[in-house]
Subunit: 191 residues, 4 copies
DNA sequence: TATGAATGAGTCTTCATTCAT
DNA sequence: AATGAATGAAGACTCATTCAT
């Protein structure tokens, strides 16, 4: 990704998350990127194309980070803790990305469907860990697909609802990871 | 809500969930409702107004159902199980609503913020139950806000991702409720 | 064709012939028609659609006039004289139309091809007369298709080149008809 | 005309005739010429300039060929036959040129007017021959301007309508010349 | 209550042209 | 001589909204 394209990329994420995809105009993106409107079209086919590129790129990076961190571990439970941290941390650093993503993946249309497909490639990582954990007798019987969806939705909601709202100082990736890990692994119920 | 207004209301939910709020035109809503475009403006101030009405109505009903079901119970854990069921069941019956909601609540803008405020009135129900459970020594120490957000995101994601995608016959509200309840209360880890 | 559509129709012909199809803006057409830009799109799908409608309509009228006038006659040579007059007269009254038509029918593209197809339905009238004349032993052996194309091109050129250029008072439909008829029937050569 | 300029020239004719002047982009011309977009501007002032150059060049060559061929003859009727052949043959070899020309010379605008002026210098050749023929008592009384326009329109139409459409094997310059000559000199009417 | 023709502000997109290299 | 990234003016088109009937 060359210099100009990256400026556009960053401006687009910021602007989409601030105003939403549809209320964002190409004019605005160009302004925020410090280039002329026509330049956007030199680097991207269309406004839709910017969105797709942005979601592609985001999920790709999230997946890469997850794969790298998980690779070194053997224990499925430890992998889960790690993946919670990676996702939390990534969304914490890129909360604009998660806002854009969450605004675009729902619905019956062709576009949200396409974006969900991309997301699934990430969810599969989680599913695999769950499956592994069940084989290792570390994780209880459950439907991996449901659990993967639950993980994604849980973390994203927490981050998107919270990050957007308050800027609570104690609201940091490590604390959230701990909360979510406890919740997800041990459950809420006192034994 | 009179007959015509209800026709519009239903057409709007269906159309928003199918094409998204922005790609949906007033023309389309009118067509699907079987009325003329002008009629929409007799019953609603604007397109935004239809959306707001629709989200208001949805959250109001979800809350009502939850309050009714929970009212009879004392045990916080049972209340949680119930609320999982109510939300699952509601979203199962009204998956178009959750699609619309999930597409609109994220972002820094004034509109998503307004909708989040409405959602919070529902999340508070969950927070209260958690708090109650902690007092009853049934539920472990945790951050209620985070847990409420987690519950909402978890269930919504499962429903929105699944319902839209496959039409798995065994994918029914009761099974999902059980899965989610087990997951949330006992955690994934084998003891 | 209702009142508004007709206003647009007339403004479009005038504007296209003055500035050419591509240099004409929808704004201009709207101004000349005395309506708002959006109104154009209420009555026509697109700028291309206006052009197509206009060419359809023009050729339809030209054909109707020709058929009406020819119907009463039996002699193929008289029919030819009549058709020369009809075409000359029509183009004289609608010189803006012929300018638009002649600017659009050439080329390998899909659009000019479509317009030529429409024109052919008129040229067939001429071909039939030629064929008839040959059967009646009034007209010499020749290729009808070539002659029909020649007739059309000859008359159109004269009208388009002349009408546009000078406003010669003696330049009237009847005189041109006589010239063309003499030229076409008797040829240039002195016997 | 150097090598690069000629590549551009040829690419331009081909592309203009294929897509029309307005739908043709500088990008396309550059691609078809195998050069970069900027290079077009090294050799031509603008897109309009390419068009003008191309029409200038075409008419210049047509005129040159006509003058050369006619020069050797004395008889006006033979000159006419020759000029029909030259024009037919030229347009047959350069049908892309005639398509471009015919698409650009009509209309009230400044540009088509300018191109018509260029065309007139060719039409004058025909007018002169007619005038000469009348003096030689070989050609009947007629309006030279009208006849010249008729000749041009007739031949161009035949070529442009036919050449573009079918690739009839018997459709060759010599046969067309014969048809047109017979038609123009002796007329259609059986004596 | 309901209609639908008309509106015009707002946007995406195209593309000829420029210019530093 | 040639390149191609960058520009921004211009234009087609959309669509929420209005209003006379």
């Amino acid at each position: 990704m060359n210099k100009t394209k990256e400026k556009i990329f960053k401006a687009a994420i910021k602007t989409f998350s601030k105003s939403g995809f549809y209320k964002t105009t190409m004019e605005e993106i160009a302004e925020n990127a410090g280039v002329a409107k026509g330049t956007l079209y030199y680097h991207f086919k269309s406004k839709d194309d910017i969105l797709e590129f942005l979601i592609d790129e985001g999920i790709k990076i999230l997946k890469q980070e997850a794969i790298e961190e998980i690779g070194r571990l053997n224990n499925a439970v430890e992998k889960l803790r790690k993946i919670i941290f990676v996702q939390t941390n990534f969304l914490y650093r890129n909360h604009d990305f998660i806002i854009v993503l969450l605004s675009q993946i729902w619905g019956h249309g062709e576009v949200p469907r396409k974006f969900r497909e991309k997301l699934y490639t990430y969810l599969e990582l989680i599913e695999n860990i769950i499956r592994e954990g069940k084989e290792q007798k570390l994780i209880a019987d459950c439907d991996e697909k449901i659990v993967a969806a639950a993980f994604f939705g849980m973390i994203s909601s927490i981050l998107a609802l919270k990050v957007v709202e308050d800027s609570d100082e104690k609201f940091n990736p490590q604390d959230i990871t701990d909360s979510v890990f406890n919740f997800a692994l041990k459950g809420l119920q006192l034994q």
